[in-house]
Amino acid sequence: MLDEATKKRIDTEVTENDVLLFMKGTPVFPQCGFSAVVVQVLSHLGVKFKGVNVLEDPDIREGIKDYSSWPTIPQLYVKGEFVGGCDIIREMFETGELAEMFQTRGIDAKHPVA
């Protein structure tokens, strides 16, 4: 269950960081294939983001799943809103929706030449 303290910590993180990725490992050393895919997509679009390594924080690792009612990691948040996990981010990237979403929310992102 998501206790109040963890919820507050998550709230703060997602509101203070425009683009936030709850992941296994760090952006430089992702420790899970799915987390690595999202890191690659964000780097490819040139989007600045903060990584939260859930492997170092068991409360966040479990709490984030209740917070977004999403059972897996990674989880991407943009301006406080849950956007998706690996599958959704990859699908949005391939259709160009991801770059568009960043731009409409005022976040610098290169528009990749598909």
Partner: protein, 77 residues
């Protein structure tokens, strides 16, 4: 920890009876599947909501018994 493809399909169809489910075992270890689900239950829902419906139908097994499920969802055309 692993699940068998038939079990995944059964659970999804239990909560979405009209679902067309195609499952591929990516690594043959019963723990990494790709799954495409087509159901009218997805109509009018965004991707996050569609995937959440599938996760709910798996009744807590996603991320526990089942490690990885590369999911694609769509409503029937």
């Amino acid at each position: 920890m692993a699940m068998d493809a038939g079990e995944i399909e059964r659970l999804i169809k239990e909560s979405m009876p009209d679902a067309v489910v195609t499952i591929e075992d990516l690594r043959g270890d019963g723990d990494h599947y790709a799954c495409h689900v087509i159901s009218s239950a997805f109509a009018g829902k965004n991707r996050v909501q569609q995937h959440q419906l599938v996760y709910q139908s798996l009744k807590g097994r996603m991320g526990t018994e089942l490690h990885a499920l590369a999911l694609q969802t769509s409503a029937p055309d």
